[in-house]
Symmetry: C2
Subunit: 213 residues, 2 copies
């Protein structure tokens, strides 16, 4: 969140981020319709956001890792639109909306940073639309693995081995395919030596061939 801010601006930001909150695995951080009283910056762990349509179908909108900020959709009409649930025991920074808005008003850098974060989220969603609109099943799975790998790498973790806390069902929902297709695709990737999996643990063995779809 403080990325690109000076030490002074970061200090100002920290005055509004006074509380951390634990979210246990499976616990829901916010639901559609909740009042917009805070943004949440993920400190550790991972969450998924989901949206359920009128006819009851659930779609996983995103997988969110440490460093991500969630709840941004609520600026629109003052209410949350997604549901956010923890995939593992996680810790989030609570950023009270009122105080954060004041900070934005007083500090142009923080304000610009907010625009940047929201814009980055727009880009992320655009990428997801591209995946859902143009890729075949195996390409989607490869794209997910490479995306998670790159995001972890950017945060200083190993990029070739990680725990993907999503279930096969959630991965399928995120990618617009069924859990069976996800499972089969991962099995095939493993058979072809692209990856190794053991349950939720994923080891990428051949980045080039995974990139080549």
């Amino acid at each position: 969140m403080p990325q690109g801010l000076s030490t002074n601006d970061t200090a100002r930001l920290e005055t509004v981020i006074n509380t951390a909150r634990m979210v246990k695995r499976g616990e829901v951080l916010f639901r559609p319709g909740d009042n917009f009283d805070a943004l949440y910056a993920i400190r550790s762990g991972s969450l998924k956001t989901t949206l359920t349509s009128a006819n009851g179908r659930e779609q996983v909108m995103g997988l969110h890792l440490g460093g991500d900020t969630i709840g941004l959709e609520a600026f629109d009409n003052g209410h949350q639109v997604c549901q956010a649930a923890a995939l593992e025991d996680s810790s989030v920074c609570v950023i009270p909306q009122k105080q954060f808005e004041r900070a934005c008003r007083e500090n142009a850098s923080i304000q610009r940073r907010l625009s940047q974060i929201m814009s980055a989220e727009l880009v992320r969603k655009s990428a997801q639309i591209l995946i859902l609109g143009t890729l075949r099943a195996d390409e989607r799975v490869a794209a997910l693995l490479l995306d998670v790998s790159a995001r972890l790498h950017r945060r200083g973790y190993a990029n070739d081995e990680f725990n993907l806390r999503l279930t096969r069902h959630d991965m399928g929902s995120l990618l617009g395919i069924t859990l069976e297709t996800v499972s089969r695709t991962l099995s095939r990737f493993q058979a072809n030596g692209l990856i190794e999996t053991r349950g939720k643990l994923i080891h990428i063995r051949d980045f080039n061939r995974l990139l080549a779809v």
Copy 2:
């Protein structure tokens, strides 16, 4: 754009929006990689935004009508990520980024309005992800027709008849299906009395059955 702003705030906003620009049908307003020097508020007409992936597949990201603001993704890294092209002769307000940022700094209402616009765009993209991830072809086509209808209605136009300037190909791309499927679906809707079409002109005859997928 000035929605929800006081007359004073609107006046302040208008000081930065000094130029209108015509964009002829087929003309490109901005491209991926262009420097972020302005946002664009659509005054009249319609545009499409598209994104082309590394392997050359093009995805229509959105259909943008009068009142919409485009170019918001560029806050992320200072460059445009989508391509915006006019679907018909259109007019857009040019909002120079530098001056707009100053206005945001000086005027908290304008700043809040920016957050709101970006958030609304996040919600719109979420809805598109939901469509691409969960709906079948005929449901997607129905969703598009109803979405356009509702947006026009909100702007005071008739909600049961409109000109959809997208080609079948673009509609298909937007919805993640092929142009043939779009064409067949529209024909079937017409045969069943849900709509009437004559080329790009669309007349909705039965909202209820269209809603019922």
